[in-house]
């Protein structure tokens, strides 16, 4: 009944995760920073990497999904925790106009609302998501995605203006 968390000290686990990812996906830019394994992945293989993390390596908790609008491309960051001190950060870059990526709700069901929020705020569509709707804004009258850089709200405040 109890859930088994990965054993071993922090360094062991980090090494094991690094080896696990390298062996399965042959990722070149995979490195360890402090207590985090950082992986650069191309958008197509995100579900594969996350399923190895979940099934074989036993990393159970998906903390959050962050989308950053780099004015032309979207930079997605999946933060995974193994609940014992180690972190895995999967970063992908969605080039150009087609901002569509496979969903990970099959592997981490908690990603359901994270992806809905990313869709609502940035317009990043997740292929295969059970019910991809807006979370915060109006369903039908509002055809803008507010957190895009092109959607400006007011003058930028910097230190120059302040005393």
């Amino acid at each position: 009944m109890a859930v088994a968390l990965p054993e071993g000290s922090l360094e062991e686990r980090l090494e094991r995760y690094l080896e696990g990812f390298r062996s399965r996906h042959g990722l070149e830019e995979a490195r360890v920073e402090g207590n985090t394994v950082v992986l650069g992945v191309d958008p197509g293989s995100v579900p594969a990497v996350l399923s190895t993390a979940r099934q074989s390596l036993g990393i159970l908790h998906l903390s959050f999904i962050t989308v950053v609008d780099r004015q032309g491309s979207f930079e997605l960051t999946y933060e995974l925790l193994d609940m014992r001190g180690a972190r895995v950060r999967v970063k992908t870059v969605l080039q150009g106009e087609e901002s569509v990526i496979d969903t990970v709700t099959g592997i981490y069901p908690t990603a359901n609302w994270h992806e809905r929020e990313a869709y609502d705020m940035f317009g990043v569509a997740f292929r295969g998501h059970p019910d991809l709707r807006r979370v915060y804004m109006w369903q039908d009258h509002f055809d803008h995605h507010p957190l895009l850089k092109s959607f400006e709200i007011s003058t930028k405040r910097t230190f120059e203006g302040l005393r």
Partner: protein, 251 residues
């Protein structure tokens, strides 16, 4: 139709009954349970045992608008909530009042640049008392309710038509609140507009048809030294420039 509404200007009957009804209404204000955000927590601690609203007869937070007299708008009103708030205001029985509690309900507060924040509750419903603060202390809310009680004392039943909410048309049903139109103006700021969207005149602010007579709420407590300076200036003002005196009286 209420008996009192048959008269169209105040006369001996309505003014004398005003005193009785206003006294009764003043001392049993039932606030609607309409907590939006952080100010709701301060409203709750005002209702709790430490600083108690029950002393003013306003302790019972009515769950449904059908039993409420005062709608305390405590928190940020988002554009999605504007229509709901108007419907709640409409469904409250007469006579009803609105207290805008907190900077967000007064003017959008710290979220002035928000694209989905309504810049103040008085853009859609007529507000009687503004309680500043973010969140206002419980004592400030109690002072707001005492100010409302003073205002109710001087209210008249006939001869003064309370302004209608902005989103409600003549026969009383709510017009569709399209944030698309409100938000195009985005946030009062001089924002760069996404391409192809025209500027929209401010249509969603209700025209305030004059304040009821005597509804000027007094300033309330002022520190003693400030009061001396005020008295001194007014004394000097009276002897000095006469017209500034009228200016103040006329406002």
């Amino acid at each position: 139709m209420g008996l009192m509404q048959k008269f169209d200007e105040p006369n001996i009957i309505t003014t004398s009954t005003d005193k009785l009804f206003n006294w009764a209404r003043k001392n049993s204000l039932w606030p609607l349970q309409f907590g939006l955000a952080c100010c709701a927590i301060e409203m709750m601690s005002t209702g709790m045992a430490h600083n108690d609203l029950e002393r003013f007869g306003a302790g019972f937070f009515a769950g449904s608008p059908r039993q409420a007299d005062v709608m305390i708008v405590s928190g940020t009103v988002s554009t999605k909530m504007a229509e709901r708030m108007t419907r709640l205001y409409e469904q409250m029985p007469e006579p009803k009042w609105v207290i805008a509690m907190g900077a967000c309900a007064i003017s959008g507060g710290p979220f002035l640049d928000g694209y989905s924040v309504l810049m103040g509750a008085d853009r859609v419903i007529p507000v009687d008392v503004y309680v500043p603060g973010c969140p206002p202390r419980p004592e400030a809310l109690i002072f707001g309710i005492m100010t409302l009680q003073k205002k109710i004392e001087r209210e008249q039943q006939v001869g003064y038509e309370k302004p209608r909410p902005a989103l409600v048309d003549e026969e009383g049903n709510i017009r569709e609140y399209l944030p698309e139109r409100e938000y195009r103006q985005i946030s009062e700021g001089k924002a760069h507009r996404p391409k192809g969207i025209k500027r929209l005149p401010r249509t969603y602010v209700f025209q305030r048809k004059g304040l009821p007579p005597g509804s000027m709420t007094d300033v309330g407590w002022i520190p003693p030294e400030a009061r001396e300076r005020l008295k001194a200036r007014r004394g000097a003002g009276a002897s000095g420039s006469g017209e500034r005196e009228e200016g103040k009286e006329g406002a």
